[in-house]
Each structure stands twice: as structure tokens, then as C-alpha cells.
């Protein structure tokens, strides 16, 4: 099918229905009554069938739906008033801006009619031609009543579909389980019995739903009678399409979805060259009668929604519902995020306030003690000055800090006769913080190693030895030495190799001898 025949809204709704929503209520609006199933993750949890003739039908479906308030509700329409039409729409221009089927629907259907379409074939003989199947239903009870109830009671409406159009996917899904794509090129006549409509006969070839026929199910008659009814209906269909089958030389298969008893009887039927395909029913062992296949159809329809049915109002409704669902989620997340941030800031502020209050309480207690102390010595004029004097005296009343010991260690140490000191820079690193009792000291020592014979590499050994010696005399200091450059400076008769040693350490106030 051409992608342009599917609107963005339809794709979006189908995507959500098939992929996102996991809890669904599917309402099959049949010819005899409505069949409602609640599905959670593809499994039917509960089902109910309500006949239109039942006086309490409204109460019954309302009661059922109320139990699934937050679930997504999908309509699968198979009502008497449904009309299925085939249209061949020629395309005049080669550039298609809007789907010709949608234009056709706008022109030929009332804006209130709920319409869905399926473009099953596009041919290019004598110009482009879109072969489409259009299903429609007027917005009348019971659809209008059900929709009204769903919308006015804030249920999550997630679209309507026609059973006749969805049968393509349903049949494919059911056949896929047992036979794969074996019968995909056959003309298929699908037979099943539903509680909501009766005996359903659907004739389809590939994507084309050729006929959707319903026969009243004779519930008071024997299985043989039912078999006879089905046989007659199928034979009628085969006779109706005989010319078509012969012209296209089609192979035919009769697909039956029913309970075991009926399947046995159907398996004995013969329709010329047609193949009879028996599908396994999923209803075996379920509480409800396994003769009716409503649940099988609903289960196959679930997660394979294809042709969304809309009218003008429903289109607007779906669009706004989407906007309502999509736009506000990021806004809610954003608001929550900001609220959490604000709560976090407020909580931190509260914590800080609590700490400040505690500090203030401690301060008041100390102040009280301080005032008591002042009262104890009334003759002292300014106790604050005395405190300052005492503290400052403690800080500065210490022997002078001098480099004497470090210099003694460096200058009186035994050196190799060829090693000559050239520069010593002794410095207190953090001179801005002299009040601290511990002071970091940095000593840079530059010395030369002078030698006459160029071949000698012993200076490396001598400098290593001297560095190790410095480590010995400054055990608590960190010593790094750098030999620069690789080649020494050459004078007339001697070569000078400058060497740089960095000594870092800490000295304490009033204890210059501490090493």
C-alpha cells in the first residue's frame, strides 16, 4: 500500500495502539450485540457479551467499562449499518499532495460518517489508479451512545476500526501461526462464528476484501445444521466468484475458525479444487463457549491495528487528545525537576539556618561567660586589649628565625675539591604567612664542577655523591638536583659544568636546631 494513503495522525495512533499501550479494552460492536474484552499484554483478562435486545445493555457495558477506567479503549466495528465499497480512483497529476482517497471521502461522505479506507492496489496501466476499499458507518446508536459514554466519562479513547478492513491483518496473523505464508496467493474464503454478529464469511484476495457477509447463527439447531448452513454459504460465494477465479486462474482456500466439533464436520466438506484450512481456536478451555470466536478475532486484532476510522469530529478529537497527552508530559517533568531543585535549595537553606542558630546559641553562651569574666576583674579597663597583647606576644615572642643552621650545614660540609659553590638562595616560601609557627623553606644551591680533562665523566658520579651527601645532612628535607647542561662551558684550560640543587623543607619557630 502507498504510504501517502496513510495520514500522519493514523500512523501515530496505530503506532501507539500497537506498540505503546499495554492495557486495552476492545469493544467489538457487532450486528447482534457488543462484545467487550479487557486485554493486558496481549492476554484477555475478562470478556462480556451484551445483546442489543437486553434491557440493561447500557448498565452492563457501563459497569464493565468502569472497572477499566485508565485503560485504552478501542472500537472494532462490525455493525449492520456498516457499508463496504470498492472504488477505483484515477490520479490525474503525478505529484500527489494529499491522498485522493481522502479527497474522495470528503466529497462523497457526510462529515459525521465514520470512515476508514484501505488502498489495496495501485495499478499503472493507462494511468495511475488507486484501488481502494472504503468502509463507513453513520454516527448513530449504538456507536454514538458508546462513544458518548467513553468520552464524557474521561475514558482513554484510542480509535475506531472496521472489522471488515482489519480482516486482512487478522486472517494473516491467524494463518501465520500454523501455515506461514502458504496461502497468501490464494483467494481466501474465511468462515467463523461470532457471538456479536453470527456466522461471518469474508472473501478476500491478497489485500482486497471482496465481500463481508453475515448469516444468522442458528443457535437452536444441531452442529450438522450449522455445517450445512456454512456449506451452502461457501458454495454460494464460490459460485459468485467462479468467473473471477477462472479468469485469473486462482487457487481457492476455505479457512475455518471454529470449535473442534464444527471443525471436524467442516473438514469433511468438499468444494471442487478448493483447499480447506482449519485454524486452531485459542478459546479451547476458556470459560465462555468456545463455539464463538470473538475473542480469537479480538486477540488477533490487538497490536495489529491498521485502518483508523475517523469522521471530522473524531479527527479533531484524536489530534487534540494527542496534543494533550504529548505536550504536557515534558512540561510536567520540567516542573517536577524545577520543584525538586527548589526543594533541595530550600532544604539546604533550612539546614544552614539550623546550623547558624546553633552557632548563635553557642556564641550567646560564650558571651555570657565572657561578661561574667569581665565582671570578675572590674579594675581592668580593656580586657580585649589584654587578650590581643597576650595572643600577639605568644606569636611574636619567639627567638629570631634565621638561616644559620641551614647555611652551617651547607657551607661547612665537605665537598669534592673540584666542586665550587657559586650561589646559595635561602628563602621562606610563604613569606605572607609569617605568623604560622611552621615555615616552608626553599634553598637553591648552584655549584660548579670544574675539570681539565674533557674525557672525564666522573662529574656525574661526584654530583650524585654530593647530592646523596646533602640528603644525609638534610634528612628531613626534600632534595632535587638538576644537571644543566649536558655539555659544560669551556674556558681556556678548563671545563665548567653548572649544577643546580633544590632543597625544600620546613623549619619551626624558636627551634632553629630542629633537623
Amino acid at each position: 500500500m502507498n504510504n501517502s494513503s496513510v495520514s500522519k495522525l493514523e500512523s501515530l495512533v496505530n503506532f501507539c495502539n500497537n506498540k505503546l499501550y499495554k492495557r486495552k479494552v476492545i469493544i467489538l460492536v457487532g450486528k447482534l450485540g457488543i462484545y467487550i474484552s479487557a486485554l493486558k499484554k496481549d492476554q484477555i483478562l475478562r470478556s462480556i457479551f451484551i445483546k442489543y435486545t437486553n434491557r440493561n445493555s447500557k448498565k452492563l457495558y457501563q459497569h464493565f467499562l468502569n472497572k477499566y477506567k485508565k485503560w485504552n479503549i478501542t472500537f472494532l466495528i462490525d455493525h449492520n449499518s456498516c457499508k463496504l465499497k470498492h472504488e477505483m480512483l484515477p490520479i490525474v497529476t503525478s505529484i500527489i499532495e494529499s491522498s485522493p482517497v481522502e479527497s474522495f471521502i470528503d466529497e462523497n461522505y457526510s462529515s459525521d460518517d465514520i470512515v476508514a479506507h484501505n488502498v489495496y492496489e495501485i495499478t499503472n496501466q493507462n494511468g495511475e489508479m488507486w484501488n481502494s476499499c472504503i468502509a463507513s458507518i453513520p454516527l448513530t446508536p449504538p456507536i454514538s451512545d458508546l462513544l458518548q459514554y467513553v468520552l464524557t466519562n474521561s475514558f482513554k479513547y484510542s480509535g475506531s476500526y472496521f472489522l471488515s478492513l482489519e480482516f486482512n491483518n487478522i486472517a494473516e496473523k491467524l494463518l501465520q501461526k500454523s501455515y506461514g505464508t502458504q496461502f497468501s496467493d490464494y483467494l481466501q474464503i474465511f468462515v467463523t462464528i461470532t457471538e456479536s454478529s453470527g456466522i461471518k464469511l469474508i472473501a478476500k484476495y491478497k489485500q482486497n476484501i471482496m465481500n463481508d457477509k453475515t448469516i444468522l447463527y442458528p443457535s437452536d439447531k444441531s452442529d450438522m445444521y450449522v455445517q450445512g448452513t456454512i456449506e451452502q454459504a461457501v458454495a454460494d460465494q464460490l459460485l459468485f466468484y467462479k468467473g473471477y477465479i477462472e479468469k485469473l486462474k486462482l487457487k481457492v482456500c476455505i479457512i475455518s475458525l471454529a470449535d473442534n466439533a464444527l471443525q471436524k464436520l467442516i473438514s469433511g466438506l468438499k468444494f471442487d479444487d478448493s483447499t480447506i484450512v482449519l485454524l486452531e481456536s485459542d478459546n479451547v478451555g476458556k470459560k465462555r463457549s468456545n463455539r464463538f470466536q470473538d475473542n480469537s478475532l479480538i486477540q488477533s486484532f490487538n497490536n495489529s491495528n491498521a485502518h483508523l476510522a475517523l469522521n471530522k469530529s473524531l479527527r479533531s478529537l484524536m489530534q487534540f487528545t494527542f496534543i494533550n497527552n504529548i505536550i504536557f508530559k515534558p512540561m510536567i517533568i520540567l516542573s517536577l525537576g524545577i520543584t525538586l531543585t527548589l526543594a533541595n535549595i530550600k532544604y539546604k537553606t533550612f539546614q544552614v539556618h539550623t546550623k547558624t542558630t546553633n552557632l548563635n546559641h553557642k556564641y550567646y553562651a560564650l558571651s555570657k561567660e565572657y561578661r561574667n569574666m569581665q565582671k570578675k576583674y572590674p579594675n581592668i579597663e580593656n580586657i580585649n586589649d589584654l587578650i590581643d597583647l597576650y595572643n600577639l606576644e605568644n606569636i611574636i615572642n619567639k627567638p629570631a628565625v634565621t638561616p644559620l643552621n641551614d647555611l652551617k650545614n651547607l657551607l661547612t660540609s665537605t665537598r669534592h675539591p673540584k666542586v665550587e659553590l657559586s650561589d646559595i638562595k635561602w628563602k621562606i616560601v610563604d613569606s605572607q604567612n609569617l605568623s604560622s609557627p611552621e615555615k616552608k623553606v626553599n634553598i637553591l644551591v648552584d655549584y660548579f664542577y670544574r675539570f681539565k680533562d674533557l674525557e672525564s665523566l666522573s662529574y656525574i658520579e661526584i654530583t650524585n655523591r654530593y647530592a646523596n651527601y646533602l640528603k644525609y645532612i638534610f634528612p628531613k628535607y626534600e632534595i632535587n638536583y638538576i644537571k644543566v647542561p649536558r655539555k659544560g662551558m669551556q674556558n681556556i684550560n678548563k671545563t665548567t659544568m653548572p649544577i643546580h640543587i633544590v632543597i625544600n623543607g620546613t623549619i619551626r619557630d624558636g627551634n632553629n636546631n630542629d633537623r
Partner: protein, 210 residues
């Protein structure tokens, strides 16, 4: 029926948008306000902490010198009296004593000694009361003939410098060549100083300032 519902949902969307936009704007507006409030609270806490630390220190100080309070008070009174006298005298004496070391160690050139007061250094220790610390920087430059003389002068300096003094840097540079200036001053009595020594010393002095 559905049209009414569409109108209803349109209205809901409109009001929801208005409400959410207003909500988000107000929440965004509240963020800087809350942040300011947190910053103010933090500042208040820091102030309280500082006050508490100050008060604790004061109280602990008082408790620690409670037995010597009369002695401290006597020192305080003495400091007040001394503040009216000139402090220059003691520093001049110090300079003379340092300069006299040149004669003691028979230096080739006299010791160059300068002292000056430093102000407005934020990192220097300060108080809020009347007792202040005055900072002086003492620069000493001299040339010594050998390392033993340098060590001798350093030993004497340690004795001369008042308490609380810190030598911040000492540079010893070995002069490789004799300059014309040195040649001019050469004599038989003193060896020329080929080791150039520069020292920077910080002197801290307590003073009373009203």
C-alpha cells in the same frame, strides 16, 4: 456531541498550557530567589562562625592567662607608656650594632643596613583593638672574604635581632672576578670580599595605638 467534547478538550489544553507556562515561569523565577536566600544564609553562618571563633579564642585566652592577668595588665600599662616614646632609638641602636660587625670581622667594605616600615599589607597579622603590630623590613648587604665569616656574622645577627624577627631571604653569591672598584680599595689589612651576601629580615613590634 463529539464537537462539544473537542471544544472542551481545546479549552482544557489552553488552560493547561497557561497554567503550566505560568507555573514553569514562577518556578524559574523562584530559583534565583531561593539561591540568594541560600547564599545569604551561608554568609550569616560564616559570620556566626567567625564571631564564635573570635569569642572562643578570647575566652580561652582569658582562661589561659587568668593566673597571670595582673602581669599582663602591667605589660599593657607599660606598652601604653612606651607608645609615647620614640621607637626609632631601639632600631638605630640595632643598625649601629649590625654595622659594627664589619669592624669585628675586618670586612673589606662596611655593612650596608637599611630599615623601613611596611604598611597596608593585607596578609600581615592585624587586630581590631588598640594593640597593633608594626612591621619593619631590614635589608642587610655585605661582602665577606669566606664562608666562615658569613657564618660568624649570621651567628651574631641571631643574637642581635629582637624576638619575633624572621629572616625571609638570604642570598650568597660568589663573585668570579675582581672589579676595578675592588682593585681601587685593595689594601694590606683586609682581604677583598668575594662573597656577596644580601639578607631581608622582617621585624615585628607590638605598639599601642588609640
Amino acid at each position: 456531541m463529539i464537537d462539544k467534547f473537542v471544544t472542551h478538550i481545546k479549552n482544557i489544553i489552553f488552560f493547561k498550557i497557561v497554567i503550566y507556562v505560568l507555573l514553569i515561569i514562577s518556578l524559574f523565577t523562584l530559583i534565583p530567589i531561593f539561591q540568594d536566600s541560600l547564599n545569604n544564609a551561608s554568609l550569616k553562618r560564616e559570620k556566626s562562625k567567625a564571631f564564635l571563633q573570635n569569642a572562643t579564642m578570647k575566652l580561652e585566652s582569658i582562661k589561659s592567662f587568668e593566673d597571670q592577668i595582673s602581669d599582663i595588665n602591667r605589660k599593657y600599662q607599660q606598652l601604653i607608656r612606651n607608645s609615647f616614646q620614640s621607637g626609632c632609638f631601639s632600631r638605630t641602636v640595632l643598625i649601629h650594632e649590625i654595622e659594627s660587625l664589619a669592624q669585628k670581622y675586618h670586612l673589606f667594605e662596611p655593612i650596608n643596613c637599611k630599615i623601613f616600615r611596611t604598611f597596608n599589607n593585607e596578609n600581615l597579622l592585624s587586630t581590631n583593638g588598640n594593640i597593633k603590630l608594626h612591621y619593619y623590613e631590614l635589608d642587610i648587604k655585605f661582602k665577606a672574604p669566606d664562608y666562615y665569616t658569613i657564618l660568624g656574622i649570621c651567628t651574631d645577627l641571631r643574637e642581635l635581632l629582637p624576638k619575633g624577627t624572621v629572616v625571609t631571604s638570604t642570598n650568597i653569591h660568589s663573585i668570579d672576578a675582581i672589579t676595578p672598584k675592588i682593585v681601587k680599595k685593595l689594601n694590606l689589612l683586609h682581604k677583598p670580599g668575594l662573597l656577596d651576601v644580601k639578607m631581608k629580615i622582617q621585624i615585628r613590634e607590638m605598639a599601642y595605638e588609640k
